[in-house]
């Protein structure tokens, strides 16, 4: 019982975007995928969603290859939140969320209740009849989250999985945390979640395990505190970081302090380091 990538390689044209990546998401755990831009995070998520055909390797859900699943059966067990929602049609918020019920529509569940629950969860229950297109980017993202929640709201107990591609990008600070706390509630209910995240602090706060992708390879995967160390962060991202222990909890969060010299341009790097050592506040420098 798991959502599993086995030795997946993906090529875009001649370029290898993913090289032999294996990763497993079990029901009830939150796995964060982190890494620099272009490391292949979204590609890995798309391969796990079945959106692209890997050059080699493959993805499976609960022991069966993704391709052998009927599309509706798959949609009842697995939801995907895309990176950038694009919906130009003037649906109401409620209608967008009800699209998430599509795979359940002939199963006798109460679809409108499921949609209403999902909308209340993202704090938009009162505005269900507003047009979706007039919302801000962050609000639209919350509607899409509700759509995904409605899709996972099943009165049947198949194991369920959720794939989130940079879900916090459009959200303000409070909603970034609310979304990830929501995700933790889902994992407590037995949902397996894979989330592509840029914010290492968010990843360290909420994830059970972290998978670090670099240049299409899985650099390391494991317990959050074991993966997100000062040396790893500096080596992979080229920024200096320190690990802060939060008093009164067992959290150990990476705090990014500033840039380190990019290896290719020593002159600019030296200048940059100079700035960092002076510990000038960022605002006054700009």
């Amino acid at each position: 019982m798991s959502l599993r990538a086995v030795n997946i390689s993906v090529k875009l044209g001649a370029r290898a975007v993913l090289c032999g990546v294996s990763l497993e998401v079990s029901p009830g755990e939150l796995v964060a995928v982190v890494g620099p831009n272009g490391a292949g995070k979204t590609t890995l998520l798309r391969a796990l969603a079945g959106d692209l055909a890997p050059a080699s390797g493959g993805a499976s859900l609960d022991g069966r290859s993704l391709r052998s699943w009927a599309s509706l059966d798959l949609a009842r067990r697995r939801a995907v939140l895309p990176q950038k929602p694009s919906l130009g049609a003037s649906f109401t918020i409620r209608e967008v969320v009800e699209l998430g019920r599509f795979p359940h529509e002939d199963r006798g569940d109460d679809d409108s209740k499921a949609a209403a629950r999902a909308l209340a969860t993202v704090g938009l229950g009162e505005r269900a009849d507003d047009p979706y297109t007039q919302l801000s980017g962050g609000e639209q993202q919350r509607v899409m989250v509700a759509r995904v929640l409605a899709q996972l709201d099943a009165e049947h107990d198949e194991p369920r999985y959720l794939l989130l591609d940079e879900p916090t990008t459009a959200l303000d600070l409070a909603w970034q945390h609310r979304l990830l706390r929501l995700t933790r509630e889902l994992t407590s209910a037995g949902v397996g979640v894979l989330a592509v995240l840029h914010d290492l602090t968010l990843a360290a706060t909420y994830a059970d395990r972290v998978a670090l992708l670099v240049d299409g390879r899985l650099e390391v995967v494991g317990e959050t505190s074991a993966v997100l160390t000062e040396t790893v962060i500096e080596r992979v991202y080229g920024v200096r970081a320190t690990i802060v222990e939060i008093a009164g909890s067992d959290l150990r969060l990476p705090l990014v302090i500033g840039g380190a010299p990019p290896p290719s341009s020593p002159a600019r790097g030296a200048n940059h380091r100079h700035n960092v050592e002076q510990v000038q506040p960022l605002e006054t420098r700009v």
């Binding site: 969603a49 079945g50 959106d51 599309s71 509706l72 059966d73 798959l74 949609a75 009842r76 697995r78 939801a79 995907v80 895309p82 929602p85 694009s86 919906l87 130009g88 049609a89 003037s90 649906f91 109401t92 409620r94 209608e95 009800e98 699209l99 998430g100 599509f102 795979p103 529509e105 409108s112 009849d129 899709q151």
Partner: protein, 360 residues
């Protein structure tokens, strides 16, 4: 239940109002024209033919209503529903309100195929009965050959235009519309060449197909064409929810369990059938597929469960009313209905374009 889906309430109301509109349009189509027949007489004629034991007011009224206007009205209803529905289908599939069978070149593509078929059938040397085609066989199959040619023509142009506009990953709508312009030009040239080759009788046929109209309606045409259109229309509601999901994007629809490729093929096939068969019977009636779904969307939102049936109803009633107008404004002459719809639809299209440039 009432709070469940507010647009269902509004949508249901709209569907009811539109059904009434269709009924009134049909009554107008049966009663109005160069020869006026009162609603009472219309009902009497219908009762005489449909129920046992009725009598008709007079042989003339009976001939005008039952032999001319009933088939014409039935054809108008079916063609209007088919064209408006195909527009709504294409707009959903391409996620673009500008998609319309006439703008994409499908309508004129089908008309060009009809032109080729008309000439081809005319040029067959039937005295040798090639391929077993005796004159009798040709006469018997002609009502079906023309719809077939139109269907093939619309399918080929649709697939050609879509293939041209498909880049890696996504359909490019600008290219789609540009390809539609080019196809329209080519189809126009093909039709023009056919007109150049045609004899007088064929010429009248070809002009009719290029401009569009319900003047060719007869019980033979109705029996050949309407079942095909009804079959296509009956399949459409199964696509509604999947088209809703497709509005999110093809990938997202796939995540919701929609079989995207199969859905696209169904939409393309049904759309081409509806347009092709309509064109074969009523010629190239433009812009119905653009204007009608747009009006429905303004009233009931973009959900296809209301949009598709409401477009069918509004298109059906609208074409019959337009036909009444075409028959009466310059009576006893008849305006080609395609000229009328294009005169109304063209400015509407420009208005839509201007709205898009202003950012809605």
């Amino acid at each position: 239940m009432s709070s469940r889906r507010p647009r269902w309430g509004r949508g249901g109301l709209l569907l009811g109002a539109l059904a009434l509109f269709v009924g009134l349009s049909a009554l107008a189509g049966l009663g109005l024209g160069a020869f006026e027949v009162g609603p009472g007489a219309v009902v009497e004629v219908l009762r005489a033919h449909l129920l046992p034991g009725g009598s008709t007011p007079s042989p003339i009224v009976d001939a005008v209503v039952w032999e001319i206007r009933v088939p014409r009205t039935i054809l108008g209803l079916a063609v209007g529903a088919a064209l408006a529905t195909s527009g709504a289908l294409f707009q959903g599939l391409f996620r673009n309100p500008l998609a319309d069978p006439s703008l994409l070149g499908i309508t004129l593509g089908a008309a060009a195929a009809v032109a080729i078929a008309v000439l081809g059938i005319g040029m067959l040397d039937v005295s040798h009965a090639p391929l077993g085609l005796t004159p009798e066989v040709l006469t018997a199959t002609r009502p079906y050959m023309i719809p077939l040619a139109a269907f093939v023509g619309s399918l080929v142009t649709l697939l050609g235009v879509v293939a041209l506009a498909s880049g890696p990953g996504r359909l490019d709508v600008t290219t789609l519309l540009l390809a539609g312009i080019a196809v329209n030009a080519i189809a126009g040239a093909v039709t023009g060449f056919a007109i150049f080759l045609a004899d007088d009788a064929q010429l009248r046929d070809l002009t009719f197909w290029t401009l569009g109209g319900l003047g060719g309606a007869s019980w033979t045409v109705v029996i050949a064409v309407v079942p095909l259109l009804l079959a296509g229309l009956a399949f459409v509601p199964t696509l509604a929810r999947r088209l809703d999901c497709l509005l999110l994007g093809e990938t997202e629809a796939g995540h919701l369990g929609v079989r995207v490729e199969a859905t696209k093929r169904s939409v393309v096939g049904v759309g081409a059938l509806l347009v092709g068969v309509s064109v074969s019977a009523a010629g190239a009636i433009g812009f119905v597929g653009l204007v009608v779904p747009h009006l429905v969307r303004l009233l009931a939102g973009p959900g296809h469960r209301i949009l598709l049936p409401a477009s069918a109803l509004l298109g059906a009633g609208g074409i019959v009313l337009a036909d009444v107008l075409a028959r009466t404004v310059v009576a006893p002459a008849e305006l080609p209905i395609g000229v009328l719809t294009t005169l109304l639809g063209g400015p509407f299209f420009l208005w839509l374009l201007a709205g898009r440039r202003r950012g809605r």
